[in-house]
Every structure is written in C-alpha cells, then in structure tokens.
C-alpha cells in the first residue's frame, strides 16, 4: 500500500511539467525547479548538520562553487555537461576537503564560526573576480548539455532541467535512506551522539566526519550547478551567509536528521515565499512569524509533526559537541 502510494507520488512528480502545461500553469515550472534545487542543497546540509551534528554555517559556499564552476566554463564556451559536472565535483570536493580538514579540528561554536569564515572568504573572492562578473554576478548564456549516446539533454529546456533535478533528488533521498542504517551511517550517528565514546570504540572519527563533510559538499556543488543552469545566473549572493542561513532554516524547519526534512523545508519555505509574495510585498515579515511559531511550537520540525515517535534518528546532539568547559 505504502509502496503503491510512493510510486504514484513519484509518477505525479515526474509528470508535473506536462500537468502544469496542460493546466496552463507553465509559469510554476520555474518555481518547481527552484524548489528541487533548494531541496537537494538542504538535504546535503542535513547530512552534515542533522546526521553529523556538525553545524556548518557556510554551506552556501559549495553551492556557489558549483554554480561558478558551471558558469565560468559556459562563459569560456564549454557547454559539455559532463565537463561541467566534473569541474563542479572537483572544485566543490576540493574546497570541502580543505575547509573540512581545518574546520573539523574545532568543535561547537567554533566550528560554526570557522565554516562561516571560509564561506565569507569565498564570497569576497567571488566579488573580486572581475573577469567573471565581479560583484554583479555572472550571466550564463548557454546551458549544460549532457550527451547520452544519441540523446542530448540540454538544460536550457526547463522541463529537462526539472527532470534531471528530480532524478538527482530521488537518487539523493534513496541513498540517504540507505545510508542511515548502514555501517557508515551508524558510525556517524555514534560520533554525533558521543564522539569520545565512538573514538574509544575504535572508529576513525575525524576521517568519517571528513568523508561526510566532503560528500555533502559534492552534493551541494551539484545543486549549485543545477541552480546556475536553471536561473542562467550565478553571483556572489549565492555564497552569502544569509543563503547558508536559509538552507539551515529549511533543514530545521523541515526536520533535522530526517530523510525528508530538507525537502519539506525547501517546499514549505519557497511556497510560503511564493504565496505570501503574491499577496504582500512584505512576505519575509510573515515568513518570519511562521518560522518563529515553528521554533516555539513544533520543536522537531515539520516532518516531526507527521512522523510516529521513535522512527527518526533523534534530535541532533549539538550539546555533546561542545567543549567540556563550556557546559553549564
């Protein structure tokens, strides 16, 4: 029964571009695209923040790097999507490796601040690259084209862009659901809940956290590359700390350490923006009140409202990650 419902939902999601076209609501396809990209980015953040207990406030940096990797290649005349993907993975992965290797030596509040610091450095770097838009950002005139045998998937077509993003999200969610009960997943949860104990049990805690951080960075980079294709633009603001904050808000809103948390948060936040934005220019004002209500009354996030007790991996043990001398 559950399987059938899930299959129907997946079919509906895949058919959405044609449904919207049939209803004359093509305009909403770009909203659906934005939601998918944000959902992938938020899910990747949930991996480090929720499952890893590592509160990174610099996640937008990897999204931005993915966007710039694609955008710069396009403006140099390269439209081969596979090259874009390779460049995105190389840049985002390398950045995540370096930033993670340094940041993971700190903990608690200092981890938050140092990830933020690295993201700000990249933000200012993006501002200064005059050759690629500088502070005005980079307009991307062509799109990634993925050659699959005789088939060429050009992301310039919003429907193709949507289906590709949907496929990436589906694979991500499937992998995340498989990750949680896996050996790696259980080790990560053990480190999150008590890293000293996990280390005493023989887990290479630093290396596992670094792998988790890099995987999340790679996924965020892919989200950024998709976002750049979908918007035809990437700019310094893609890396700004308020963007990192927005992804974090999506994760907390949807549900920390839940498979669907990032998706739920992205859907709700962007739909709120859209609905409130149609009604008032002060949509952020009312969104703020909704978020406050969630903090005060739905402590486990939106997914938490629907999940049965004991089925989720539990709230993040952020407190356990603080240095002992900071505990009250």
């Amino acid at each position: 029964m559950r399987g059938a419902a899930a299959l129907a939902a997946a079919g509906l999601a895949a058919a959405l571009p044609w449904l919207l076209a049939a209803l004359g609501l093509d305009f909403y396809l770009s909203l659906a695209n934005r939601i998918l990209v944000a959902a992938i980015a938020a899910t990747s953040l949930n991996l480090v923040l929720g499952y890893g207990g590592l509160v990174s406030l610099g996640h937008a940096a990897f999204v931005g790097l993915g966007g710039y990797a694609t955008g710069i290649l396009v403006s140099e005349g390269v439209t081969n999507g596979w090259l874009h993907l390779a460049a995105t993975l190389a840049v985002a992965g390398l950045a995540a490796l370096v930033i993670g290797a340094i940041s993971l030596r700190t903990r608690g509040v200092y981890f938050i601040m140092i990830t933020l610091a690295f993201a700000q450095m990249l933000f200012y770097l993006a501002n200064s690259i005059k050759g690629y838009g500088g502070d005005e950002g980079l307009i991307i005139r062509a799109r990634s084209v993925f050659a699959l045998g005789a088939l060429a998937l050009d992301l310039k077509n919003p429907t193709v862009c949507y289906e590709v993003a949907l496929a990436v999200l589906a694979v991500t969610l499937y992998a995340l659901a498989r990750f949680v009960p896996s050996r790696f997943g259980r080790a990560v949860l053990a480190i999150r809940d008590d890293d000293l104990r996990a280390e005493a049990l023989g887990f290479p805690t630093y290396r596992l956290k670094l792998v988790l951080f890099v995987v999340a960075g790679l996924l965020a980079g892919i989200a950024g590359a998709l976002g750049a294709n979908q918007q035809g633009y990437v700019g310094p603001n893609t890396l700004h700390w308020t963007q990192s904050g927005t992804f974090m808000v999506m994760v907390i809103l949807g549900g920390v350490a839940t498979v669907w948390g990032g998706v739920a948060g992205a859907v709700v936040l962007l739909l709120l923006q859209e609905v409130l934005g149609a009604w008032t220019e002060y949509w952020a004002f009312w969104t703020g009140w909704v978020l406050l209500a969630v903090v005060l009354f739905a402590r486990r996030g939106l997914v938490g409202l629907f999940e049965r007790r004991g089925r989720v991996a539990g709230p993040p043990a952020v407190d356990a990650a603080r240095p002992a001398e900071q505990a009250p």
């Binding site: 923040l49 509160v55 406030l57 340094i102 700190t106 509040v109 200092y110 938050i112 601040m113 140092i114 933020l116 610091a117 690295f118 700000q120 450095m121 200012y124 770097l125 501002n127 200064s128 005059k130 500088g134 700390w241 308020t242 904050g245 974090m248 808000v249 907390i252 809103l253 920390v256 002060y282 949509w283 952020a284 004002f285 969104t287 703020g288 009140w289 909704v290 978020l291 406050l292 969630v294 903090v295 005060l296 402590r299 709230p315 993040p316 952020v318 407190d319 001398e325 900071q326 009250p328």
Partner: protein, 305 residues
C-alpha cells in the same frame, strides 16, 4: 603608501574598530553568558540607525535624535529579551539560529514597512568640515567625534564591568553561570538589563556609522558577521577581548583596503587592483581569525577560567 595616508587610515581603522566594539560588546555577553547565538544582533544596529535617522529628521537636532534612538533601542532590546529571546536560552543552538534568523526577516521587513527601504542621515553641519591634525593632515571632524564617542564609551563600559556591582555580577555570570545563580544572582533579570545595554550600544554604532555608510534595510547582516569574528578572536564572553579584537579587525579591514590596493597597483592593472584590494582585505580578516583560533582556540582573552 605615503606616511600621512597611513596615519589617516590608522585613525579610520581605529574608528571603525571602536564602532565594531560597540556591536560586539553586547553580542559577546549574550553569547558568553547565555550561550545564545543571536543572529538578530545586527538588526538592533539597523533599528537604532533608522530610529536615529527618523528622530534627527523630526527634531532637526543630531544630538536629540541620537539620544532618543539610543533610549528607544534600549527599551526595544529589553522588551525583545523579556518577550522572546529569554525562552531560547535553554534551547539548542539550532533553535536559536532558526528563531533569530526569523527575527532578522521580521525586523528587516518591519523596518521597511515603517520607514521604507532607506532613510537619509547626514553628519551634523557644524562637523562637516575637516580639522588639521598635523601639518598637511586634514581629518574630517565628524570622524573625530566618532573616535571620541567610541573611546569614551569603551572607557565607560570598562568602568561599568570592572568597577561596579553590576559589572561584578556580569563577570560572575560569564565565568560560571550556574555558580553565580547558586550564589543568589538573579541572572534572568540581570540579563534583560545587559541585553538592553547591548542594544543601546548597537544604536550608538548605527547612529554614528549611519552618515558614513548608509541607513538601509539589511545593513546589519554584514556587520553582524564581523562582530562575530571580533568576539571569536577576543574570546567569547570577554569585554576586554571584544575591544582588542574589534580594533584589530577594524585596522586590518581599513588598512588592508587601501594598503593592499597600493601594493597591488605595483604589479596589477589599476581596475584589477582596486577590486582585489578590498577583497583581499576582507579575506584577511577571516584568515586572521583562523590563525588566532589555530594557536589560541579559546580566543585571545578567554572569559572562563
């Protein structure tokens, strides 16, 4: 770089650092004592600046406007603490991030509703001209006023924290909150007051920086991150650390901007140099923080002993 320019830029750096200190002082106490991440601290700076611009326009007097804005922001900060932030102290950092991020959205758009996207605020006319500090060194009188106000407030705050009963209670709370409560300190009430003072200092910084930067919605977001960098460098919870960190960050940022530009001009085309200078200076602030954390993970002046 000519030496007079260095002196001028050093003064600018000191002035920016002192204003950063006003922001960081409240932030470091809330962070250090209540272990609370308040992303909305920059919004108090914005609210203070808007109130100042509005009151200056209304009364026609810069002094009256600033005093009124500081008083109103003080009251607003205390109401915010008692009404909302207090309930967040016991929650985890993630809830605090979500709630205070929501507050940024509310306060940004709320300000836009009431005052519009920006307000004009100019320095008092009497201080519009320059003053000759050294032969050949002209320095704007208004910037000297900021320097004076910043120094005076830093001294006042130091006296308040080091020499008064209130300050002793705050220091006790910062060093060990549980023990201070056990000794009979009413930490919640004390903190409503401390938060109000922090908000008032934000308003001072907002009002005085307003004519130099711009009074606009969103002005708090970038400076908030610098204030966080300051308190991490100085040691979370330490007022002295916040002062030292703020002046270091202010000088690195300001001197870096012009100094590096001069340096880059030697080997880069001018338009590249003028873009790279500020970017590298901004990055230098974060590199400095990373280096401090690498050698002194608790910051320069750890508050907890």
């Amino acid at each position: 770089m000519p030496s007079l320019l260095v002196v001028e830029q050093a003064l600018n750096g000191l002035q920016f650092g002192l204003m950063l200190f006003l922001l960081a002082a409240g932030l470091t106490l809330v962070f250090g004592v209540m272990d609370m991440i308040n992303l909305a601290h920059g919004s108090l700076y914005m609210v203070g600046a808007f109130l100042a611009a509005w009151l200056v326009g209304l009364t026609g007097s810069f002094t009256l406007g600033v005093v009124g804005a500081v008083a109103l922001t003080f009251a607003f900060g205390m109401a915010l603490e008692a009404g909302l932030l207090r309930t967040l102290y016991a929650r985890d950092h993630l809830s605090q991030v979500l709630a205070t991020f929501a507050l940024i959205l509310i306060l940004n758009d709320g300000t836009r509703m009431v005052f519009g996207n920006d307000l004009p605020l100019s320095a008092p006319a009497a201080l519009a001209g320059p003053v000759e500090l050294l032969p050949g060194l002209q320095y704007p009188a208004y910037r000297l006023l900021i320097l004076g106000v910043g120094l005076a407030l830093a001294v006042l705050l130091w006296l308040l924290v080091q020499k008064t009963r209130l300050g002793a209670l705050v220091r006790a709370g910062a060093s060990n909150r549980t023990m201070a409560t056990a000794m009979g300190v009413d930490i919640p009430r004390l903190f409503t007051l401390v938060f109000g003072i922090g908000a008032a200092l934000c308003a001072v910084a907002g009002a005085f920086l307003g004519p130099l930067l711009a009074v606009q919605v969103g002005m708090g977001e970038n400076i908030l991150i610098l204030a966080f960098v300051v308190i991490v460098i100085g040691g979370i919870g330490s007022i002295r650390g916040a002062l030292v960190g703020a002046i270091l960050v202010g000088c690195i940022d300001t001197l870096g901007r012009t100094g590096l530009q001069h340096m880059f001009r030697a080997f880069l085309p001018p338009q590249w140099a003028s873009a790279a200078g500020p970017a590298v200076a901004s990055i230098a602030v974060y590199v400095f923080m990373a280096v401090v954390l690498a050698f002194r993970p608790q910051g320069l002046f750890p508050a907890r002993g």
